[in-house]
């Protein structure tokens, strides 16, 4: 029983000397052990941080050198490099010698290509050697560190063992006899323990439960609702190829094709590929993606989305969008607005439509309902009529309503996949009928909205305002366009404003390029080919402005009523009158009428153009105009 055991109890009396002398050695051992292991530990940590911090830098250096080696130098570069190169720094003596030689020869005949190539060769070798040297160095260091940390761990272990032995055996010589304190009041002790025990457990369980509940309430993905048929959103190219929204890509009303027919007749059926009745009325324009045409229609009781085959004109499917919840007061809209004035939007995977009732519906191309929801019945003088846009995975809805001081107008972004509201921004405007567009300025996307009194740009990623220009008034119906680096916004019968969209904050003073105030339209949107801007009033006044400075070039009266916005096809203007006559004019410095085509049915909606075809939604029918074959 004389063995060294920790915590063994024996009276210190008697063999005090022996123990004390042992005691000191033990303490010494402990101290040495601890100090030693601390040092090793410290070294290992240093080693570790060297490996994680210092070495990557060296590696990057190596990569850099390799890249340099790959670059081919022209003569000037070579010479300058050689000038900078310090000959003494070259480890390989005979390379250095060669280089010196060449350098000395060079001034005599600087045009000697052979000499140059020699020099280039030598220089290349020098750089190669440098890389090889550094590379070797790096590898050696890496190996050394590995070995060190490997041995270090053993050393550390050893040190700790010594320390422990020391401390424990030292402990053994300093044991006190157990000296029990005077007995406490056992009974109360007992009771208290019981109570404390219960309380700790209670606290524990509340902690557990609350934290668990907190975690459980965090948002998570439900794969049952995951739409697996769809791969994210379309590329810019895809969008450009199609007519995905009101007035086509970017809402510009521009079609690049040149093979669009300029001659047809609805009554004789000339160049009319097909004509299909649309079951429900609506003033919204058709949108087209590849082989699908979408329009919406509604009467006070039903709102529906229609999908037509672009080739056949057959109605492929029609789907109702759930109507407003019961109890909501029935809304009244103007006859010439209707319940389906807003044009739908598609990203080629799904189509999303909004109606005057504030109902939004989203369907995939097969007509499967992905989601529908109601944004609350809009309070709008003529009925809600703004069209929606899509950007990446967002449906962007300019939900302007009421009066400015009601503060109920807002810009809403819904997730196209779930219909959830991604963000929502209040707008300081009364109800308007203009549609938002998404533009890219310096690779930064902006949502451009028009309202009384501001043109406001928002950031699509979070709905924050980028800039605003206080320049409009009245009841805004025309949508903005973006052309030649300018936003063109229109106040009916009053002004046309051109704004540079590269500002921040309030740009009213700073970024308004110019203003014009003659014969601005009240409903239709302008169209521009970059050089000129064309505007068409409801009364049929076609006006042409210069985009650069806003000077008016000419005006022409068409003596017809126009509700549809003019479109630009190649260098031709297509203007669809209320009576269904398409005026085709040259988009040039003066007015030149090219053709007039009769459809023979009233038209409110702006036409859609896609690969050589025109899709016109008339009062009752949807027309597809194109050249057969």
């Amino acid at each position: 029983m004389k063995l060294a055991i920790d915590d063994t109890h024996k009276a210190p009396s008697g063999n005090n000397k022996v123990s004390s002398q042992w005691y000191h050695t033990a303490v010494a051992a402990a101290v040495i052990g601890s100090v030693f292991s601390l040092i090793v530990l410290e070294l290992m940590l240093f080693n570790y941080f060297q490996r994680t911090v210092a070495e990557p830098k060296r590696d990057d250096k190596l990569e850099e050198l390799k890249i340099q080696l790959r670059q081919s130098l022209n003569d000037q570069q070579l010479l300058s490099q050689l000038q900078e190169l310090d000959v003494k720094s070259i480890p390989d003596p005979n390379l250095a010698k060669q280089l010196n030689l060449l350098k000395s020869e060079f001034p005599a005949n600087p045009q000697d290509q052979q000499l140059l190539s020699k020099m280039r060769n030598v220089y290349r070798q020098i750089r190669q050697n440098r890389i090889r040297k550094l590379d070797l160095q790096i590898r050696q260091i890496r190996m050394r560190r590995w070995n060190f940390s490997h041995r270090g761990s053993y050393l550390l272990l050893g040190g700790v063992v010594v320390f422990l032995i020391g401390v424990k055996s030292a402990h053994r010589y300093k044991n006190k006899l157990p000296a029990p304190q005077p007995a406490p009041d056992r009974l109360n002790e007992q009771l208290r323990r019981a109570i404390y025990a219960r309380w700790t457990v209670t606290v524990g369980l509340t902690l557990l439960a609350s934290s668990a509940l907190f975690l459980a309430t965090r948002p998570w993905i439900d794969f049952t609702t995951a739409d697996t048929t769809i791969a994210s959103f379309p590329t810019m190219e895809e969008i450009k190829k199609n007519w995905p929204r009101f007035r086509g890509p970017g809402g510009l009303g521009i079609c690049a094709d040149t093979n669009v027919p300029a001659k047809w007749n609805g009554t004789t059926g000339e160049a009319i590929l097909w004509k299909t009745k649309v079951p429900l009325p609506g003033h919204n324009s058709p949108i087209v993606w590849n082989d699908r045409v979408f329009v919406t229609g509604a009467d006070p009781n039903t709102c529906e989305v229609f999908c037509f085959g672009a080739l056949s004109g057959r109605l492929l499917w029609n789907r109702p969008v759930k109507s407003t919840p019961q109890g909501a007061e029935p809304i009244d809209v103007m006859e010439d607005t209707g319940f389906a004035a807003s044009t739908a939007v598609t990203d080629g995977r799904r189509v999303c439509a909004i109606f005057a009732t504030g109902d939004v519906g989203c369907f995939n191309f097969e007509g499967k309902e992905l989601w529908t929801r109601n944004l609350g019945v809009p309070d709008s003088a003529y009925g809600y009529a703004s069209s929606v846009d899509m950007y990446r995975n967002l449906v962007i809805i300019q939900y302007d309503q009421g009066a400015a001081d009601d503060e109920i107008s807002k810009l809403i972004a819904l997730d196209t996949f779930t219909g959830r509201t991604v963000w929502e921004t209040k707008r300081p405007v009364p109800n308007s009928w203009s549609s938002p567009i998404v533009i890219e300025v310096a690779a930064q996307p902006q949502i451009i909205t028009c309202g009384d009194p501001c043109v406001i740009a928002y950031n699509p990623s979070n709905g924050t305002e980028i800039w605003r220009a206080k320049c409009l008034g009245g009841e805004i119906a025309p949508s903005p366009i973006y052309t030649a680096g300018l936003i063109i916004a229109i106040e009916p019968y009053a002004t046309m404003v051109a704004i540079r969209p590269d500002g921040k904050g309030d740009v009213t003073k700073t970024h308004i390029a110019w203003k014009a105030d003659e014969s601005t339209p009240d409903i239709s949107c302008p169209v521009s080919n970059g050089e000129f801007i064309f505007m068409l009033t409801t009364e049929g006044f076609l006006t042409c402005y210069k985009t650069a400075d806003g000077t008016k070039l000419w005006e022409h009266e068409l003596q017809k009523n126009f509700l549809a916005s003019p479109s630009l096809v190649g260098n031709r203007l297509y203007m669809l009158s209320e009576k269904g006559v398409m005026y085709i004019a040259e988009a040039g410095a003066e007015y030149k009428e090219l053709a007039k085509c009769q459809l023979g049915e009233e038209c409110y909606a702006s036409p859609a153009f896609m690969d050589g075809r025109i899709y016109i939604r008339a009062i009752k029918n949807l027309y597809c105009i194109g050249t057969t074959n």
């Binding site: 590696d59 050198l65 390799k66 080696l69 790959r70 750089r127 190669q128 890389i131 090889r132 590379d135 070797l136 590898r139 890496r142 590995w146 940390s149 490997h150």
Partner: protein, 192 residues
């Protein structure tokens, strides 16, 4: 109840004994079930291995192993190798010129050796003491060549942890438990 137990200690003892042997039986059952429930798949020991068909050589093997110098190393399936003169498992994507100089090599640790066999064939061998299993060469070879280079767990190094920490961090789920008597999943062509 405390009093009660005091009066008849015998009962309590019996109860406990019963419990004990109940528990013993339970344990036995558990063990038996665990081992012999499924006779079809043998209950011999397993080891960790990478399925080269699934591995994407992401590089996690180099850093997530519990060993500082990973147990995963690159292996060379000679039967699949094309013995190319310009091997993109050996040379960087843009070799300055075609020689063994460090400036042309792909492997950051220089673990691949290139040796002339006969015109125009070269043999490539891997120095395991230098390989750290980063899989850079594997990518090079599988992108341009036949995928003769691939990563495997070297069982002279592997500690065969109960849960392999690389497996836990493997993005492609290429790690699997394989029977200890067939510890490697070698790439080989099936021709005679």
């Amino acid at each position: 109840m405390s009093k009660h137990s005091e009066q008849t200690p015998g009962r309590r003892q019996i109860l406990i004994a019963a419990l004990r042997y109940g528990a013993l039986g339970l344990l036995g059952a558990t063990g038996g079930a665990a081992v012999f429930a499924r006779k079809k798949n043998n209950t011999q020991n397993t080891v960790w291995q990478i399925d080269p068909e699934i591995c994407i050589a992401c590089g996690n093997c180099a850093t997530y192993c519990v060993l500082e110098e990973s147990a995963v190393k690159c292996m060379h399936a000679y039967a699949v190798c094309g013995y190319c003169r310009i091997c993109f498992g050996f040379f960087g994507p843009e070799p300055a010129d075609i020689n063994e100089g460090a400036e042309n090599q792909l492997c950051p640790t220089g673990a691949i050796k290139r040796s002339f066999v006969e015109d125009p064939y070269y043999e490539y061998t891997i120095d395991e003491s230098l390989c750290m299993g980063c899989g850079k060469c594997v990518k090079g070879c599988s992108t341009f060549g036949n995928g003769a280079l691939y990563l495997q767990v070297r069982h002279d190094r592997c500690l065969n942890c109960n849960e392999c920490s690389i497996a836990a961090a493997c993005p492609s789920g290429a790690f699997k438990r394989v029977p200890a008597d067939k510890p490697y999943l070698l790439k080989r062509v099936d021709h005679v």
